[in-house]
């Protein structure tokens, strides 16, 4: 019998990185095949190649035994490959039915043959035992139901191979159960399912076989019954390579940042941060580990004042910061390194020196009433540029001409050089090359020695463990566990990051 999918030597390069490096993989017809790996292991790239969104630079793809080139999403559908994206591609204002038929409407002339569409969808619903109201608007249904719509979309188009990209990332535990039941039903009907995830428990539960990716390569393919979770975690993470960082002991200072029972709601009213409490002393780095989307971003933004808090309190250097404006909070001595440099950290078309004083441009030293003191601003910039060895041709250069690492150095120079007492660093090394990341690490450690309180949020577990004095794991808007890094292995932390260790609903 032909395999459903065979990949041979798939390689895909992006500027600066090789996302997929000679991936070879065989997927049997009618199996649930899980592909696991850390963030950045190359899972999504591989899936996008299968879905026809990216073209591989090298390698061959066989679908049901025939060599194919998947040139577009449309071609993927023709080959009966259906992609269920992690971020749903749904029209929120449309009904479930409209979303499913869009682009492949059953029609009577120019008019949509609603009866026929309804019939086909009804058949699919009963065949796979999905519960879904075709007339509900997508904006009104739950996330789990929206996912079912995505699955139905590809089934409606006749897909035999379903690719699900991190399907459980957005689901509550109960919904995961339902999804798995649905997937089993699909399997019974002979569909092939490719399931991408980094949640090991789930993978072990649902998959027939598991392929582990690490840094763009296949580490191995295993059968769940013959592997433990710990073994799988080790395959995923590899040998934990700790960066050699000099961490001198620093005497703990006063509590500079304290967060108490903080609740932050999303626009939808759902709590993104759900009762977080933590205290950080001077000379301490408190790291927050966790899979992205568990409330870390909202926590950071609430502390700096970008988001309204629903309840709870933030205290900075003994002063209540809740309800203050961003500028007032910054004036209490808070530096903020935002996770998205381009959206929140910099004004891209503006010059380097302008970005270097952004937010501090009303400080006395930069004013020569009524105008800005360009001289001091430029001197300040020149100094920081030297100090942080920012590579540029001129401080009058527009900042979008700088590399990511140098842009981040400008932000560091701006935020760290005015003697803040509390530093909130959100994903400070994201997208940086090794050298620049190292620089950021050293800088944060230096500030720690100077007695600052640092909140480090990072999706990079190695980074968190090697820099922090204490590590809290954030899951579902709560801090579910707290460790000293020297007492734990990455796998231990990983279990908590994936929602293990404690039952959901328990606090730290």
């Amino acid at each position: 019998m032909d395999k459903a999918v065979v990949l041979r030597g798939i390689t895909k390069r992006f500027p600066g990185i090789v996302a997929n490096d000679g991936i070879t993989l065989e997927i049997e017809k009618g199996e649930v095949h899980a592909i696991v790996g850390e963030n950045g292991a190359g899972k999504s790239t591989l899936m996008k190649i299968l879905a026809g969104i990216y073209q591989p630079d090298e390698g061959e793809i066989y679908i049901f035994g025939k060599r194919e080139r998947i040139t577009s999403p449309g071609r993927a559908i023709e080959l009966k490959i259906g992609m269920v994206h992690q971020h749903f591609m749904l029209v929120n204002r449309f009904t479930v039915l409209e979303n499913i038929i869009l682009g492949a409407e059953k029609r009577a002339g120019m008019v949509i043959d609603e009866q026929k569409c309804r019939k086909v969808i009804g058949e699919l619903l009963s065949l796979y035992n999905f519960s879904l109201d075709p007339d509900a608007r997508v904006e009104e249904i739950s996330v789990g139901q929206a996912q079912r719509v995505e699955i139905l979309k590809v089934l409606y188009r006749g897909a035999d191979i379903l690719v699900l990209d991190e399907p459980t990332a957005v689901l509550a535990p109960q919904e995961v159960k339902e999804l798995f039941a649905n997937l089993r039903r699909l399997k019974e009907e002979g569909k092939t399912i490719i399931f991408i995830s980094h949640k090991l428990d789930e993978v072990l539960e649902i998959a027939d076989r598991i392929t582990v990716l690490r840094r763009g390569r296949v580490v191995g393919t295993v059968v769940p019954s013959r592997v433990t979770k710990e073994e799988l975690a080790r395959m995923m993470v590899g040998k934990p390579v700790f960066m050699k960082l000099e961490k001198t002991p620093v005497p703990a200072g006063d509590v500079l940042l304290s967060v108490k029972d903080l609740v932050v709601r999303e626009n939808t009213g759902k709590p993104a941060v759900n009762g977080v409490s933590l205290e950080i002393r001077g000379g301490e780095i408190y790291g927050i580990a966790g899979i992205e989307g568990n409330g870390q971003k909202e926590l950071a933004e609430a502390i700096i004042g970008l988001r309204k808090t629903s309840s709870g309190q933030v205290t900075i250097c003994g002063r209540t910061a809740t309800g203050l404006s961003i500028r007032e909070i910054r004036d209490l001595g808070v530096a903020f390194i935002p996770e998205d440099r381009h959206r929140q950290g910099l004004v891209l078309p503006m010059k380097v020196w302008e970005n270097m004083i952004l937010g501090y441009h009303r400080k006395k030293e930069f004013l020569k009433k009524p105008s800005l003191n360009l001289k001091t601003a430029r001197e300040f910039t020149e100094k920081r540029v030297k100090e942080y060895s920012v590579r540029l041709s001129s401080i009058d250069q527009s900042i979008d001409g700088l590399s990511g690492g140098n842009q981040q150095k400008v932000i560091l120079g701006r935020e760290l050089s005015r003697d803040p007492r509390v530093i909130i660093a959100s994903q400070p090394t994201r997208g940086l090359d090794v050298g620049a990341a190292e620089f950021v690490h050293e800088e944060l450690l230096k500030k720690r020695e100077e007695g600052k309180a640092i909140l480090l949020i990072s999706a990079d577990l190695e980074e968190v463990l090697s820099l922090s004095d204490r590590v809290g794991v954030m899951y579902n808007g709560r801090i579910t566990a707290e460790f000293r890094p020297e007492e734990v292995t990455p796998e231990d932390v990983g279990v908590y990051m994936l929602g293990g260790g404690v039952k959901a609903g328990e606090g730290a």
């Binding site: 999403p73 029209v91 204002r93 449309f94 869009l102 492949a104």
Partner: protein
Amino acid sequence: MFLSELLASSLRMAVPILLTALGAVFTERAGVVNIGLEGMMIVGSFWGALGSYYYGPYFGLLLAMAAGMFLALIHAVNTVTFRVDQIVSGVAINILAYGSCRFLSQAIFKMATTSPHVAGLPKIDIPVLAGIEFLKPLVSGVSPIIILALLLVPLTRFVINRTVFGLRLRSVGENPLAADTLGINVFRMKYAGVLLSGMLAGLSGAYLALEHTGMYVEGMTQGQGFIALAAMIFGNWEPAGALWAALLFGFSEALSFRVVEGGAIPYQFIKMIPYVLTLAVLAGVVRKSTPPAADGIPYERGMK
């Protein structure tokens, strides 16, 4: 009698707003903001008068719609193909319409601001109903375009909600990326929406010139293209909603004429009513109404 006459006159005033608002529904549902509708009404009124002057009203109507579509085509090229700011393009369209009509009016009619009198469509008496005395002002001597405009409301609703075209049109205004991944030609749909809006705005302009006034007068649209946009917003991007909103605006105008005859309020203030009403409506309603999710945002392939 007074009441039915007032209603009849409201209806007559509402029609140009309604037609353009229906056009606005098409373009905005496809995700393109078109403030050039005012300009498309202007060219509609001019070319409608021109066509009617030489070859009769039917030709005038066709010419008006073609002229509106021509400007719409320019807007579509600017905003869909080149993805320039939709407002800037709309402003330029309006200036172009104003300038070109003055230019042509001078070149053809030898007057910058008016055309000679032109013929409209034959008026219709609605059978049976026209016999009822009370309804007479409403149903006798009616312009066929009024009837057409009213018929276009359910038709537009049907096209938008029930046809393959309508579904796809709405999808590109709500989530073009999703539509694109499903193999829908986003650009073609947007073009279609903009062009339809130009056609309807052109027709609306022709109504003003041929049916309402009997000639082209510079500035006869009086910002009704913008008011139509407000009506469409007030009507929550729905054809039926646009109808009620247009009737509200038409009613306020019709009423204001009656008030002017009374002479109690200076007529300049009466003239302001539609604009003040628009502001009030927007200030009161805008938070509650929901535009298509991707309205006004140019779509670029490969964008996140």
